[in-house]
Amino acid sequence: MAKHILAALVENRPGVLARVANLFRRRSFNIDSLSVGRTQRDEMSRMTIVMESDSAEADRLVKNLYKLVDVVHVDHLHSQPSVVREMALVKVRATSDNRREVIQLCDIFRARIIDVSAESLVVEITGEEEKLENFTELVRPFGIVEMVRTGMIALGRGGHTLKDEGFKPNRSRAAARSNVL
């Protein structure tokens, strides 16, 4: 078992996200996180999929993703040198008594405080998964009021990119294009 990070370039057609999500459910893939966002090209979105599994299972997911007509390219970033980041917003209980302590922790982690109120702070923290986890563990004793994580996003380092050359957007379809939802 290991953490596998897959990146998929998909055409921005209606229903693509549903197709990918359905694939997870239908073939019972256990997904840790999925994040979807725009890319350098209007017609394409990029999905980052993280799963805890053996490599045969990750392989199976890659092959099944490729079967979807809207999926242009899939890469197993685990096997490539890549940069991986995730962001979390954490609302930590912090009153005048302990606010300084929390701020100190944030400094150490290079986390930013983006909202302050009498009872709490909202902290923005970006980094690899481990860093986010360490941070949340350390602030947990103060009380985490609520929190949200984006899921991981990743890019290959240097010259390593997801292939999209073959892809030319379709004239008449461009008009009808919408987002992946």
Binding site: V10, E11, P14, G15, A18, R19, N22, R26, A56, D59, R60, K63, N64, Y66, K67, L68, V69, D70, V71, V72, H73, D164, G166, F167, K168, N170, S172, R173, A175, A176
Partner: protein, 637 residues
């Protein structure tokens, strides 16, 4: 399907289409509905199976302007999707089904799922409520693209008339290429009504995320050749992919050149003639015992266009344990899915087999064939279907007509030349065991989904696709009643399909499981049936009832002599016949329930009689269980 078929499809483009595919013609203004019809013509479609309704009505109205598109009115949309499927399987051409929104579309679903499981190329066109009403729970609105998402190769909701021609073209392209499959196109009513300039797109189809593989990598070919060269007990497992790729000739050549026996999956029947000396017959749950033994004892499996379904592997943990494995398939996701292989090759089977053929070499091993021959001799001892005049297996009840005999005789009296289309159940397995197929696409059956009700409509579709061929629908009394309303379609269209009902008064296959695994509690499997002959006569269909083996030839000949429409034979067969051999679900592939040999059978009978005497002497209140045991023992179970 082969490139050749794809080419035929393209050439079949109708000359009367507004814009011939070579382009050049001026654009014309057409409605969305007319564009759909134009696109169908460009794809070489000649028949559409369907059922009208509000949301698809503009397209039905447009059809009146396109007499080249023959529309077949089914009696249920499930019939339409099965007919399109049968049509497709008989030729490799794409079958087309059409239905209205909501209930019309949901009725297609079983047929779509059936086509998906067996990789059959069909395109389903459904009407949808107008774009503005989508999502409002409008009258007869269903999220059809949502419902069919997991059971289509791809689907589309067309939201603008501008994308309609491209979507239609992509739909057919995706359905027929690579690993074929069903594609659904959902078209809102307003899109069908809108008008737009229509120019048939001529540029090559651009689908960045879709490019079916062709040839294998040289390294993999070399690895496969090395395994073949070194093998002592190899066996080829030939699946549906062989005939779909048109690689039948290459398969025969490979087997002959390397002297490797071939086992067939159910849908692989027809991949090579079953008369071919290297063809062993069907493998799996109801496959030949010698075939399953050979697979378990092999030192090399060469799996070609098959997917290691649980019905052919049995217990995966003990499946062909001593063998290396080569797997060739066009779908990469099939490789290492159920069975981990040594060499996985992704590509078109025709191409890959030609790559292998160039350099394949292997020293034949007579001992391997001798072993298989021994297993086969043992199977023959246990055989229940013998010529009428030969001494019968003692387990055959006197004077009873067996389903297995019906199929064997049908094979004989049609000279093995028919296209047979089966339903699902015992009769399907008897057809697989006793009807020896010679040509590709000559057995049409629902293998993957096992859809009861498939037989009759698929046979109608097959006959309409291949009017030159003799077509038999071999159906059970249960499954027939699931889609028997299509008798009317066959009559209305004067489709000359011969229907053989293997009428055992039971959901026979389920009854068999109850006999073996549920202590003979026959819950909900006996059926009170209508008089099938009278039923068919109500449609004006000529019928015969057969109750004895001696009547089969005449009945079959009488059916074959009829040409103007469907015929029906009601074969009233033994109610409690068993399909042997049987690998219980999940058991090891060579752990089969066998019919006893005549000697074993007689010994069992003697032992039972002795035991019964003892029991009677000891107690008098055991009557019910003893009766049940006697029932279960008729075939030596």
């Amino acid at each position: 399907m082969s490139d050749e078929d794809a080419a035929t499809n393209r050439e079949a483009v109708n000359p009367e289409a507004v814009n011939p595919p070579d382009g050049g013609a001026d654009a014309v203004v057409l409605t969305g509905a007319e564009i759909v019809c134009e696109c169908l013509l460009h794809e070489g479609v000649d028949i559409v199976f369907g059922y009208p309704g509000g949301a698809i009505l503009p397209t039905y109205d447009a059809l009146t302007k396109y007499p080249q598109l023959h529309h077949v009115l089914t009696r249920h949309e499930q019939g339409a999707s099965h007919m399109a499927d049968g049509y497709a399987r008989a030729t490799g051409k794409v079958g087309v089904a059409m239905a209205t929104s909501g209930p019309g579309a949901t009725n297609l679903v079983t047929g779509i799922a059936t086509a998906m499981m067996d990789s059959s190329p069909i395109v389903c066109i459904t009407g949808q409520v107008p774009t503005g009403a989508i999502g409002s729970d409008a009258f007869q609105e269903t999220d059809v693209t949502g419902i069919t998402l997991p059971i289509t190769k791809h689907n589309y909701l067309v939201t603008s008339i501008d994308e309609l021609p491209e979507v239609m073209r992509e739909a057919f392209h995706i359905a027929r290429t690579g690993r074929p499959g069903p594609v659904l196109v959902d078209i809102p009513k307003d899109v069908q009504i809108q008008e737009a300039e229509f120019v048939y797109p001529t540029e090559p189809i651009q689908l960045a995320g879709y490019s079916p593989p062709k040839t294998a990598r040289a390294r993999q070919v070399a690895a496969a050749l090395e395994l073949i060269r070194k093998s002592k007990r190899p066996i080829i497992l030939a699946g549906h992919g062989i005939s779909m790729a048109g690689a039948n000739e290459e398969l025969a050549q490979l087997a002959e050149k390397a002297q490797i026996p071939i086992a067939l999956t159910l849908l692989g029947k027809g991949a090579i003639s079953e008369q071919h000396p290297l063809c062993l017959g069907m493998m799996g749950m109801h496959g030949g015992a010698e075939v399953n033994h050979a697979i378990q004892q092999a030192d090399l499996l060469i799996a070609l266009g098959m997917r290691f379904d649980d019905r052919v592997t049995g217990n995966l943990a003990t499946y062909a344990r001593g063998s290396r494995k080569i797997h060739v398939d066009i779908d990469p996701s099939e490789i290492n899915k159920n069975v981990t292989v040594d060499v996985g090759i992704v590509g078109d089977l025709g191409e890959v087999l030609r790559q292998l053929l160039d350099r394949v070499e292997r020293r034949p091993n007579k001992a391997w064939f001798d072993r298989i021959a021994e297993w086969r001799a043992d199977s023959e001892l246990r055989e229940i279907v013998r010529p009428a005049e030969a001494p019968q297996h003692p387990a055959v009840p006197e004077g009873k007509l067996l389903g297995a005999q019906v199929i064997r005789d049908l094979f004989e009296f049609t000279a093995g030349g028919a296209i047979t289309v089966t339903d699902v159940g015992q009769h399907q397995m008897w057809e697989a065991q006793y009807y020896q197929h010679e040509r590709p696409h000559s057995l049409i059956t629902s293998g993957g989904l096992g859809t009861m009700g498939f037989g009759l409509p698929a046979a109608i579709g097959a006959k309409m696709s291949r009017p030159d061929q003799e077509v038999w629908a071999i159906v059970g009394d249960g499954g027939f009643q699931m889609t028997m309303m299509e008798l009317a379609t066959a009559v209305q269209e004067r489709v000359n399909v011969h229907i053989a009902i293997i009428n055992n008064g039971f959901l026979g296959m389920v009854r068999q499981w109850q006999e073996f695994f549920y202590e003979e509690r026959y819950n909900q499997t006996p059926m009170v049936n209508p008089d099938f002959c009278k039923l068919a006569e109500a449609y004006g269909i000529p019928t015969v009832r057969v109750t004895e083996r001696g009547q089969i030839e005449e009945a079959v000949n009488a059916s074959r002599a009829q040409t103007g429409g469907p015929t029906l034979i009601d074969f009233v067969v033994e109610k409690e016949e068993i399909v042997f051999p049987m690998v219980p679900a999940g058991a090891d592939l060579d752990d089969m329930i066998r019919r006893p040999t005549p000697a074993e059978f007689e010994r069992q009978q003697r032992e039972r009689a002795a035991a019964a005497e003892v029991a009677e002497a000891e107690t008098t209140e055991l009557e019910a269980p003893a009766a049940a045991a006697a029932l279960g023992s008729r075939f030596g179970v």
